[in-house]
């Protein structure tokens, strides 16, 4: 009878100790492992590896004193994403006879679902005298299939004299140093963005203008 009781006590203690050790092992083990892996780069513990390049670029920019501008446009590089910054397909076109202005932008849908661009409109203003030169917008909503690219035509009307105000000397193209973009409205993928004012000359990625 006494041996039986002792055996039960031994069993209970054995199980209790085993379960305690198991709890400690499964709680501490993974955390110690990941800290060991990232022991030389503890920031990496909380920064996804896919953003390592972005973090490095931002760090370099900050150390160079360049904290303004548009860092995302030139540095958003997410490993595993097909995201690409929208690119101008060609130089903007202007028809002096009709006053029609158009530019084409290549947009890629990095998502696994359809991407809708319901609105894209902006006012162009002359930097010299702050007069409204024209409005440009997409004529109708656009849907881009997953992983595909689409050319988006942005069009607007500009009177000849207004166009002359903002075009470069003898180039026939808009000089980005002469304009300011006002009231940019974008509705893309369920995200509505409004920006009061953009100086396009500060946006490096639109240098093609």
């Amino acid at each position: 009878m006494l041996n039986n009781t002792n055996q039960r006590t031994v069993d209970m203690n054995t199980v209790k100790i085993a379960l305690t050790l198991l709890t400690i092992a499964i709680t501490v083990g993974p955390l110690v492992y990941v800290v060991f892996i990232y022991r030389d780069n503890l920031i990496g513990l909380v920064l996804p590896p896919q953003f390592a390049n972005l973090g490095q670029n931002l760090g370099q920019n900050m150390s160079n004193g360049n904290s303004s501008g548009n860092p995302l446009s030139s540095q958003l590089n997410i490993t595993g994403s097909n995201f690409q910054m929208p690119k101008l397909v060609s130089n903007p076109q202007y028809n002096p006879d009709t006053g029609e202005f158009s530019l084409s932008v290549n947009v890629t849908n990095p998502l696994t679902n359809e991407l809708s661009i319901d609105q894209l409109s902006v006012q162009i203003q002359s930097k010299d005298n702050n007069t409204l030169v024209g409005n440009i917008s997409i004529p109708q909503p656009i849907n881009i299939q997953p992983g595909e690219s689409s050319i988006i035509n942005v069009t607007g009307i500009m009177p000849q004299d207004m166009f002359n105000q903002i075009s470069g000397h003898n180039t026939g193209n808009i000089d980005v140093n002469n304009i300011i973009l006002k009231n940019l409205d974008v509705d893309v993928g369920g995200v509505k963005i409004h920006i009061d004012e953009i100086d396009p000359s500060s946006i490096q990625s639109l240098g093609g203008l």
Binding site: M12, V46, P49, N82, T112, G189, I195
Partner: protein, 204 residues
């Protein structure tokens, strides 16, 4: 001798392991920004984020997820073992180890969600735990006088509700343990003789 089984424990162990497997593929709670431009797939066993079609995880969260995977696995298996031997001297230790784990994980997960959404609320971003909402990002953090409005949707998914069921069954197993462990042992059933039956009838 008839084998005693804690049926609540058996069900709890099975459902805990089912929750674990489903949670590897389906999040407990999902937050979607816009048309899947950004996703948060939160789960104690597999938390990841989606941005512009890319999926990524944070190493520290990955480690915590691994802790929860091992915890759920151990809890489910130990609960299954316990449920078949609820009368052993060490059974209470097995039960004590296994029934609390899903409860703790569930409480920590819900508390974590509430804390994170509350912190976001302090910065002017009221994130819905359930349902959709148009969220205005705080303008003080945006350059060029920009304002951004996004449609944000949050929802709890199937594994979350299954985890609640598993937790409830774990607690039921703990409560049922008192009965199953203290119930008198039943004697093997024997066929009553005609004389015994008659005597019983007379007594009645």
């Amino acid at each position: 001798m008839e084998r005693r089984i804690n049926w609540f424990g058996l069900a709890a162990g099975v459902i805990t392991l089912i929750v674990l497997v489903i949670s590897l593929y389906v999040p407990w709670w999902q937050l979607t920004v816009g048309e899947n431009l950004m996703e948060v797939n939160a789960s104690p066993v597999n938390t990841n984020f989606g941005l512009l079609g890319a999926q990524f995880t944070i190493p520290l969260i990955w480690a915590l997820n691994l802790v929860c995977i091992l915890t759920f696995t151990a809890s489910g298996i130990v609960m299954l073992i316990y449920s078949f031997i609820p009368t052993k001297s060490y059974s209470k230790h097995l039960l004590g180890f296994s029934y609390k784990k899903p409860l703790y994980v569930l409480i920590i997960f819900v508390a974590g969600l509430l804390v994170i959404t509350s912190i976001a609320g302090l910065f002017g971003m009221s994130i819905p735990l359930i349902g959709s909402k148009n969220l205005m990002l705080p303008t003080q953090f945006l350059p060029m006088g920009a304002s951004i409005s996004v449609l944000v949707s949050g929802s709890f998914q199937l594994p979350f509700w299954l985890a609640i069921v598993a937790t409830a069954l774990c607690i039921a197993a703990r409560l049922y343990h008192r009965r199953v462990a203290k119930a008198p042992k039943t004697e093997p059933a024997t066929a009553a003789s005609p004389n015994e039956t008659a005597a019983t009838d007379e007594t009645a």
